[in-house]
Homo-oligomer: 349 residues x 2
């Protein structure tokens, strides 16, 4: 059973997690950014650990980097009774989790998410993996971290765009929860909240995800609710990456949420007032999606290749209302094009 | 729950497995050898399947080859409701199983082992993986094939050395079973048995493994019994590979069984009459292990790096008697050197 600590005293929580596991050796995975900004703050508790450093950024979320981590674990003499501590954002915890899950068929790992997106989404739930063949997270494994230490204390090092990117997943969790939760997240200003208040809001949001994951760890059914915003979001993210203008995952998810709520409104009568409120929130805070009709073919092709899609149909999670998801909705190509038209209109592009 | 069919009518069994899974697409992994010798015999039932071909041999059991399989699955448009059919020996089923288990975080796969070693060992039990950094099976996952089709009908294409290599695992299963089972396998001539008789013997042997795996799928305890012969066997296999004189896995296991029964005799009073009977069997049928005292350092280092070893101690499964394994025995370096001396003596090298 996965242990999750919510605390802004990360060194103490990490010390406790390491003691609880009685690991024979400790290895740490950081990227160039967290090595500089976060590792020094954990120096005491990680003294003596072997440090593996990967380059920062989604373009390095590849099987080649996984090979580097495996080599680092070999050089550190890691065995199945060792542990890998992943200190970083979603790229580090996704990639490090996959490297650990497959090293000697499974090394325990501890996630210390250092970004809001990592804390609210990537570090929990057991989805690990890397990009492959131009597609996001095409290769991976279901493997839960032994411990996750959720904190808001490293967010002071994050640029505004990254905070907002993480916040998009909190908006998603609110949509999957209730009208009240949605109102709460749409009115808070994530960039101005003190770490204590943000940790409290974060905890509520993480609990929504934990509840859903616990009901369906291998994503056979109910867990697919968490894909809300991600079919369109991933396609937009892949497109922007191919165009050489990568956007944060969370930005793409924020766009994807608007587009899929358009679909939800058309197919399941999701209330239009809430759709417009969300669209206004996303338009004001996030970058504008630079796409036109000429991009639809590439976007639809990408959605068809998505892990969730089957037998020629685009698969989305849609909402009847806040807290009422419908998973495995098949979306016809024409309906998707219509939704993308309305989405661009709502986003003012 | 994994379905295992024991039959020499493979096309019929494969057809049934594919129908039972209602897969949206079928991809097949073969190596250069099974493409030529086996695939034509399954042409009818696999008509329309996308074929991915890998080079034959353990030197290609690498993450690069896994990347080729992932690419092949992408090109075939495989989704989570597709299936990968692995047709080949242990390299193909280990590697194909790992590629499937990690593609989109888990594609179902069917194993059609075409070698005796594959049928008796690799294709069942959920251990998948590839070699990495010069060590065997350092990277992998626990993932069970949806179906395994065990047959003896392809063995007519196997050279004698490969048949014997597979037979070493049957000897191991007999050692883990009973005195009677050991007597049966030591007196049968695997190279002369008709396919029907061999299938019956194979079924008994596979059932020993299934019983042990079912009691402990993730290898926390009792399953480690199946590691009998493998701590020393893997080290010998790695050494011969490094020396550019690779031997069949089963040959290395046959040697490993003798060496670990020497240890079993020294530490747990395993009966010396049976040790000598086994040693004579291995000496007569298998290649001689070309190692000397100068190789002990490299062998011990390799055993210390073994997945099973922890915190500076070599870990072996030993036997008190046939059917009475003791897992997680720590072996001191000096005792291992003594056992290797006696082993070389018994093998006449």
């Amino acid at each position: 059973m996965q242990r999750v600590a919510f605390t802004n005293d990360v060194p103490a929580a990490l010390r406790q997690a390491l003691m609880a596991g009685s690991y024979s050796r400790v290895a740490v995975l950081v990227d160039a950014t967290t090595r500089q900004l976060v590792l020094p703050r954990l120096a005491d508790v990680l003294a003596g650990a072997a440090v593996v450093v990967m380059p920062a950024g989604d373009t390095h979320k590849t099987i080649d980097t996984v090979c580097d981590v495996w080599r680092g674990l070999q050089q550190a003499g890691a065995t199945r009774s060792s542990v890998l501590v992943n200190v970083g954002g979603g790229v580090v915890t996704d990639l490090g989790g996959f490297a650990a899950a497959t090293y000697k068929r499974g090394l325990p790992f501890i996630n210390v998410p250092t970004t809001l997106l990592g804390a609210v989404d990537a570090a929990l739930g057991g989805k690990t993996g890397v990009n492959f063949g131009g597609l996001k997270n095409q290769v991976g494994a279901f493997a839960e971290a032994a411990d996750v230490i959720v904190s808001a204390c490293f967010f002071d090092t994050l640029p505004r765009e990254q905070l907002l990117a993480g916040y998009a997943e909190m908006v998603k969790h609110a949509l999957l929860s209730s009208d009240e939760a949605l109102a709460d997240v749409l009115q808070a200003d994530v960039c101005a909240l003190p770490a204590g208040d943000l940790l409290a809001l974060l905890r509520q949001s993480v609990e929504v995800k934990r509840r859903i994951v616990a009901s369906d760890p291998l994503e056979r059914g109910p867990r697919k609710a968490l894909n809300l915003g991600h079919t369109v979001g991933h396609a937009l993210e892949s497109l922007m990456l191919e165009r050489g203008r990568p956007v944060a995952h969370g930005t793409a998810v924020a766009w994807g949420l608007v587009a899929e709520l358009v679909l939800s409104h058309l197919a399941l009568q999701f209330p239009s007032a809430q759709l417009h409120r969300l669209a206004a929130f996303v338009r004001e805070r996030y970058a504008a999606p630079a796409i036109g009709c000429d991009d639809y073919a590439a976007l639809l092709e990408s959605m068809h290749r998505d892990k969730k899609s089957q037998a020629g149909e685009i698969n989305c999670t849609l909402l009847r209302a806040c807290g009422q998801p419908e998973v495995d909705c098949a979306v016809a190509d024409d309906d998707m094009r219509t939704a993308l038209d309305i989405f661009r209109d709502l986003m003012g592009v």
